[in-house]
């Protein structure tokens, strides 16, 4: 029965994936560009979810990890032009991950508000370094990013970049899905529920909390590298506090502690940005109101609400089956 089910889902999933990868052939270049940005935001949301959604640590400076990945890629691609993207992407992720690990160590003893303040300060420091270290980063004039390449094939258009960014994103989504299904993911959730209880169960708090930061930073660093390729030109202005707040809004709206929620949150953020493109101040108002509304009325986000709805439907179905007298539709 399970094998038939797997076969059936594969029959549906594979054509959908084929259709998805045919999108650049039929969609406009701008929509393909938006899909690429969306994929970057999905990775950022997943990264942020590791630290906020799964381990309950608040990070208000996550744009800094995006900046680290982006600048690492731009600088290395410029100064070592022979490095292909499949070397640069993991290097950017590891660089950001290492910084995340080192940041995670000193903030281990902190809770709630204090972690938020430290990560906020971290974001400001990274932004300021990008601005002031102009000999390396070109300050607020920004850095041009050379195109990614594979042999002689150059990813120098949004449609070509689609075939780099989307597969990387899908692979990392699957990897994230696996991580949260393992002992590591269960340890993260246990820490979020109660650090005391988790410790009692033998979970090494220091190790897992620091690892969450490192993993989160790795994902966001890779997202930063892809962002740099997509934008072709990066400046410190692209990694501000408001960007970090947008990322938090994504996972609050989409659903904390959920990979699926990360995707929904990224789609909604991108949609709002596009619909309100000419009204930047209204955009900020909409985000702010959405954040407040969701935190009060839907704290588990859209994915949490969908899960609750499905559970309620299942429970009602079970109830109605139990209430049905034998002989009436009962096997």
């Amino acid at each position: 029965m399970r094998r038939v089910s797997f076969f059936r889902w594969t029959l549906i999933l594979v054509p959908c994936l084929v259709l998805f990868f045919m999108a650049p052939l039929v969609l406009s270049k701008y929509l393909v560009f938006i899909l690429n940005l969306l994929a970057v935001y999905v990775l950022v949301a997943i990264g942020l979810n590791f630290v906020m959604g799964y381990t309950g640590q608040i990070s208000t400076g996550h744009a800094a990890f995006l900046a680290l990945g982006a600048y690492f890629t731009a600088i290395c691609a410029t100064r070592a032009s022979s490095l292909p993207f499949y070397v640069l992407l993991p290097m950017a992720g590891c660089f950001a991950g290492l910084v995340g690990f080192l940041l995670g160590i000193p903030i281990l003893r902190l809770r709630g508000f204090y972690i938020a303040m430290v990560t906020l300060a971290f974001g400001a420091v990274v932004s300021e370094i990008a601005l002031q270290w102009s000999s390396l980063t070109h300050g607020d004039d920004g850095l041009r990013v050379p195109s990614a390449f594979l042999g002689t094939f150059v990813f120098d258009s949004d449609k070509r970049l689609f075939y780099l960014i989307q597969p990387v994103t899908i692979l990392l989504i699957l990897a994230a899905r696996n991580i949260v299904s393992t002992r590591v993911g269960r340890a993260f959730l246990a820490i979020r529920q109660s650090e005391t209880a988790a410790q009692t169960l033998g979970i090494n708090l220091s190790w897992y909390k620091t690892s969450a930061f490192a993993l989160s930073a790795f994902y966001t660093g890779v997202a930063g590298a892809l962002f740099a390729y997509a934008m072709t030109h990066i400046t410190p202005d692209s990694f501000s506090l408001s960007t970090s707040i947008d990322f938090i809004a994504m996972i609050v709206i989409g659903g904390m502690g959920s990979i699926f929620g990360s995707i929904i949150g990224a789609v909604i953020l991108t949609a709002i940005q596009q619909l309100l493109g000419s009204l930047a101040e209204v955009q900020m108002l909409v985000f702010g109101i959405a954040l407040i509304v969701f935190m009060i009325f839907m704290p588990r986000g859209i994915s949490g609400a969908l899960r609750s709805w499905r559970a309620a439907v299942k429970a009602r179905k079970k109830q109605s089956l139990e209430n049905t007298p034998k002989g009436e539709g009962y096997p």
């Binding site: 089910s5 797997f6 889902w9 549906i12 999933l13 959908c16 994936l17 259709l19 998805f20 999108a23 039929v26 969609l27 406009s28 270049k29 701008y30 929509l31 560009f33 938006i34 899909l35 940005l37 601005l131 002031q132 102009s134 300050g139 607020d140 004039d141 920004g142 041009r144 949004d158 899905r177 934008m231 072709t232 030109h233 990066i234 400046t235 202005d237 692209s238 699926f260 995707i263 789609v267 949609a271 596009q274 493109g277 000419s278 009204l279 930047a280 101040e281």
Partner: protein
């Protein structure tokens, strides 16, 4: 697996539903229809340059287009302007520009603002062969499809150095400059220019873009016994510099503002301390000038935005919209992007009544290559010179024509 598969399909379906599987056809020329031409720009309507952006687009270009649309448009086509806010963020500028070109299908990009946001879009626009017309910034820009507006910073720097040394006899010139491409351009042009005259910058102090306190830099500069201090700053820090100079009791040193800084707004910000400040101006006085073309601008502003105060930014927007319309008209009914560019390259000595006659060529896509010196008197910039330019390396002055 069941739940994962369902979620994956839902996600893919979400993408496809949201974005649509629609193939897009192409028009005869992008952005041009039988009765309209659509132009676009990404500009600052929020953030540090919001005032400039709103003035040049909403109270400049759009005012001009309303005026000509009411008169029947250009070659029977109304000109429509679409604009998005980038808040001086280069990332948003690129996203907006791609949206304008690929989704809104604009004919050209007209009057974007800011060196960094504009630089972020240039490679893309050249690749797409979309004209980039008259950005409000002063770095030299290279590109087949790029036409610049006011005098570029290196040319302005050369003119000002020559004028200060040859006309005013200044020996000790100092500089306080924004620590980015804007400031470096003036510094790196002035230094060799002065060296060719066996001189050098007597003092120089960089200022970070986000700085609001210039007291340390001004205190150092007050020790240098300068004839002139050249301020390569934005209005906020520029006003701070003037206030600090007043506080330090400067009497001998002349403060000199760059072209982008020379506007009444920074005089207002300095709280009336700007009396006697000199500057390089690209524009006649938008409020007091008696030139018919400037009076026409004021009348249009009064008609379509009654009560709005004229200023150099909205005059910029109005003037360059007018120049665009002139080029569009000359290109004829069957206009294309390429034809617009070649038409503009053939424009010679276009008399406009605002700035010296505009000429373009294959090798020169710069609308302005001159300016005139001004001094603040009673909170108004009064002319100190005629139109000053460099021709064959020599300083040339022509009457202002007021």
């Amino acid at each position: 697996m069941k739940a994962t598969g369902r979620k994956a399909i839902f996600v893919i379906f979400l993408f496809l539903l949201f974005f649509g599987l629609v193939s897009r056809g192409s028009a005869a020329e992008v952005g041009v229809s039988a009765d309209s031409v659509t132009v676009g720009c990404s500009n600052s309507f929020s953030g540090p340059l919001a005032f400039c952006g709103l003035e040049m687009v909403k109270y400049g270009a759009e005012i001009y287009f309303k005026q000509i649309n009411d008169q029947g448009g250009v070659q029977g086509r109304k000109v429509i302007m679409k604009s998005y806010d980038d808040g001086y963020d280069p990332t948003k500028a690129l996203v907006n520009t791609k949206r304008l070109v690929e989704q809104d299908k604009v004919f050209c990009i007209l009057e974007p603002q800011g060196s960094s946001p504009v630089e972020a879009t240039i490679d893309y626009l050249e690749q797409q062969k979309v004209p980039l017309l008259f950005p409000f910034q002063g770095l030299p820009l290279k590109g087949r499809m790029v036409f610049t507006a006011h005098t570029v910073y290196p040319r302005e720097a050369e003119i000002v150095v020559d004028w200060m040394v040859q006309k005013k006899g200044f020996k000790r010139i100092g500089m306080i400059y924004q620590d980015d491409a804007y400031g470096y351009t003036y510094r790196d042009t002035a230094t060799p220019r002065l060296k060719s005259m066996n001189m050098e910058l007597a003092a120089q102090e960089p200022v970070k873009r986000t700085s609001i306190d210039l007291s340390a830099q001004m205190a150092k500069l007050s020790q240098d016994n300068l004839d002139a201090l050249w301020m390569i700053l934005t209005p906020g820090p520029g006003a701070m510099a003037i206030k600090e100079a007043k506080k330090e009791g400067w009497t001998k040193t002349k403060l000199f503002a760059t072209g982008p800084l020379t506007d009444e707004s920074f005089i207002i910000l300095s709280g009336g301390e700007g009396e006697g400040v000199w500057g390089f101006s690209d524009w006649p006085d938008p409020v007091h000038s008696k030139k018919p073309a400037i009076a026409e601008y004021r009348a249009a502003l009064q008609k379509y935005a009654a009560g709005h105060v004229p200023n150099r930014y909205s005059l910029f927007g109005y003037f360059y919209a007018k120049l665009f319309a002139e080029a569009l008209n000359r290109a004829g009914k069957d206009v294309t992007r390429e034809k617009l560019v070649t038409t503009m390259e053939s424009m010679k000595n276009w008399e406009n009544g605002v700035i010296p006659p505009v000429s373009f060529s294959k090798d020169s896509h710069a609308a302005e290559q001159s300016g005139f010196m001004v001094e603040v008197k009673n909170n108004v910039f009064q002319p100190l010179s005629g139109w000053v330019s460099l021709e064959n390396g020599k300083l040339v002055e022509r009457p202002l024509g007021e």
